[in-house]
């Protein structure tokens, strides 16, 4: 589920947390790194990735976006 954080790159600066319009991203109090606390509320807007200073964020679309089967519109 988007976003995916690279724990090896993340410096824990907190920028992504402040850039999410949906309040998806929080900082883990234990390890000081960012994580998606509410991944199902991600809008795939890419703001967090654009602002991460060390390019530690990737966007990975959820399965239901990748395989949109089954719904007949109206």
């Amino acid at each position: 589920m988007p976003p995916v954080f690279d724990a090896n790159l993340c410096t824990g600066c907190g920028t992504c947390e402040d850039t999410c319009p949906l309040d998806v991203i929080y900082m883990d109090e234990q390890n000081g790194r960012s994580f998606a606390k509410y991944p199902e509320e991600c809008w795939h807007c890419g703001s967090c990735r654009q602002e991460c200073p060390v390019e530690a964020i990737q966007i990975r679309f959820p399965l239901r976006v990748m395989v949109p089967a089954g719904v007949v519109p109206y």
């Binding site: 988007p2 402040d18 850039t19 999410c20 319009p21 949906l22 309040d23 606390k37 509410y38 199902e40 509320e41 991600c42 809008w43 795939h44 807007c45 890419g46 703001s47 990735r49 654009q50 602002e51 990737q58 966007i59 990975r60 679309f61 959820p62 239901r64 976006v65 990748m66 395989v67 949109p68 719904v71 007949v72 519109p73 109206y74």
Partner: protein
């Protein structure tokens, strides 16, 4: 709960295109400004991740490139919903200032050679869409506003407007992380919360995978309605076309650059639905796709393979300005537009105005003022505004008129009325009560099912009555919704506000006994457009018992 109190001349609710432009204009006029936003304004709202088109006529010579042509198109394409005197004052008169504002904040609409790249779509008479790289527009606007000396309350979601002696005197809200209660006293308040989304089921089942920003949930409309303001154009449904599965903005780029919709047999079918074909209005494109699928000629694709390499490069770039993650979607799906067809589907529905030049929401006059003294609205939450061009210009207009209003003796800056504040506090924090047990997601899911079933692209008196009755049942569960965090408390307020907007939407749609703007309001029982009876807006406001009531407001286009 901790409480913070502030005082200002002008309070802006929602720091997006409209709100931040209003803030800059009000500061230029020397007023004190406070902005409340439920996120952090450098990356909040519809174009948090980027944006790529701005509609403008530029007076370059041809007759389509003029104010008259714009007003003529608006009158024809949004007939019955647009009010030209308002459009002229809030868009046409502010357009030059708006274009300069982009330069001033450092996100010019021009290319490096000082020219504009312009494209045409949606039935417009000429290439009015300026393509630009708006990926950093939001952070730049946010920084400009802070630099101008506005006080910004990030992550403070507004819950209600404060009224004293029939006049607006501020607003109250809470911080979505700490829960702190905020009370801001102000002489004038602007609502710029960006429209209503998440009202309809998403075909993927992912509610936040939606076309427009899922943080904009009609809060402003619901707040204004509770304060006695009138809403208008709220009966209309709005849909778009999306890459199947990924509810992203980008149709304008695909169509504007020359993409062609084809059905399962490879036939370009749009001429069957509109004489302008691919250059027809958005709702006609949606109608075409729905029609082909219903006729079992699906699936439907968009074909961009004929575009020359330069145009394709521009298209892919501009798609990524509009929706930053478009390239990731292509990559993860293995799609190359020069080689592959892109499967297209209709998006989830939303409450919205009929097209790109006319909105829905809080009814405003040419000053962006509402019927409640001291209350103003702009951007997608105002009934006349839609898209970046009108959000920007209406923001500029509202910033100026509010600055004048706040300096005037009419704005008395009354104190807040404590009993109202106590009531709001109780209402906001109620869902934290441990005796409640329902998740807001369940409430939202049922609300979306009701709207999708009864208020979709095919409406009838019977279906809408059933939707209304279902909302009555849903309403009984309202006090069951439990929030365990302040984040969830924000979501809970959102679903409550969506319910209010849904009520107003159904009320107006039931009242309008005709069809208008294709699937925006398509009634099985009244399939014709009836200008004789229905050329105008339906205003919805709250009666003394708290229920929505309607009034028809005719508009004369002669």
């Amino acid at each position: 709960m901790a409480e913070e109190r502030l005082q200002t001349d002008i309070l802006i609710i929602g720091g997006g295109a409209a709100g931040l432009n209003a803030a800059l204009s009000a500061r230029e006029a020397g007023r004190e400004v406070v902005i409340m936003d439920k996120a952090v304004i450098e990356r909040s709202g519809h174009f948090a991740g980027g944006i790529d088109h701005f509609a403008a006529y530029l007076n370059t010579g041809p007759s389509w490139d003029t104010r008259e042509a714009y007003l003529d198109f608006t009158a024809r394409s949004a007939r019955g919903a647009t009010n030209l005197e308002v459009v002229e004052k809030i868009y046409c008169d502010q357009l030059n200032t708006a274009i300069k504002r982009f330069d001033a904040v450092g996100c010019s609409l021009r290319r490096s050679d000082n020219t504009f790249f312009r494209t045409q779509s949606y039935g417009q008479p000429g290439p009015w869409w300026i393509n630009f790289n708006g990926k950093r527009l939001k952070p730049l606007l946010g920084q400009a506003v802070r630099k101008a000396g506005c006080r910004v309350l990030d992550r403070v979601v507004t819950a209600d407007i404060l009224i004293n002696e029939g006049q607006v005197c501020g607003a109250a809200g809470f911080h979505i992380r700490s829960g702190t209660f905020y009370v801001v006293q102000a002489k004038a308040v602007l609502i710029a919360t960006g429209g209503t989304n998440r009202l309809y089921q998403n075909p993927t089942g992912l509610s936040f995978n939606c076309w427009m920003c899922p943080a904009n949930t009609g809060d402003g409309e619901a707040i204004a309605y509770r304060a006695g303001a009138r809403l208008a154009n709220v009966e209309y449904l709005r849909m778009t076309l999306i890459p199947r599965g990924f509810s992203a903005a980008g149709l304008n780029a695909l169509v504007g650059m020359g993409g062609i919709l084809v059905n399962g047999t490879g036939e370009a079918f749009m001429k069957r639905y509109d004489p302008l074909g691919m250059k027809g209005p958005r709702y006609k494109l949606v109608e075409g796709v729905l029609g082909e699928i219903k006729a079992h000629r699906g699936p439907v694709f968009i074909d961009c393979r004929h575009l020359d390499p330069e145009a394709l490069t521009h298209l892919v770039a501009t798609l990524s300005y509009d929706k930053d993650t478009f390239p990731d979607f292509f990559e993860q799906k293995g799609i190359d537009l020069s080689r592959d067809l892109l499967e297209i589907a209709t998006s989830e529905g939303m409450q919205g105005g009929p097209n790109e030049v006319c909105g829905s929401g809080i009814k405003i006059d040419a000053d962006c003022a509402t019927n409640v003294p001291g209350l103003f609205a702009a951007g997608n939450s105002a009934d006349q505004c839609r898209s970046l061009h009108m959000a920007t210009t209406s923001g500029i207009r509202a910033g100026c008129t509010m600055a004048t209003y706040a300096a005037n003796t009419d704005a008395r800056g009354l104190p807040v009325y404590q009993p109202q504040l106590d009531g709001i506090r109780q209402r906001i924090y109620g869902p934290l009560n441990e005796s409640r047990s329902m998740d807001w997601r369940e409430f939202e899911d049922v609300l979306q099912r009701i709207l999708t079933e009864g208020m979709g692209p095919v409406r009838s008196a019977w279906g809408m009555k059933q939707a209304w009755q279902n909302l009555d049942l849903l309403e009984k569960w309202k006090n069951e919704v439990r929030a365990r965090t302040y984040h969830d408390l924000c979501r809970t307020q959102e679903v409550y506000n969506m319910l209010t907007v849904a009520r107003c939407m159904i009320t107006a749609a039931r009242y309008r006994k005709e069809s208008r703007f294709g699937q925006c309001h398509s009634r099985l029982d009244y399939p014709q457009t009836d200008d004789e009876r229905w050329l105008g807006q339906i205003a919805v406001d709250r009666d003394t018992t708290g229920n929505p009531r309607t009034q028809f407001l005719p508009i004369n286009y002669d």
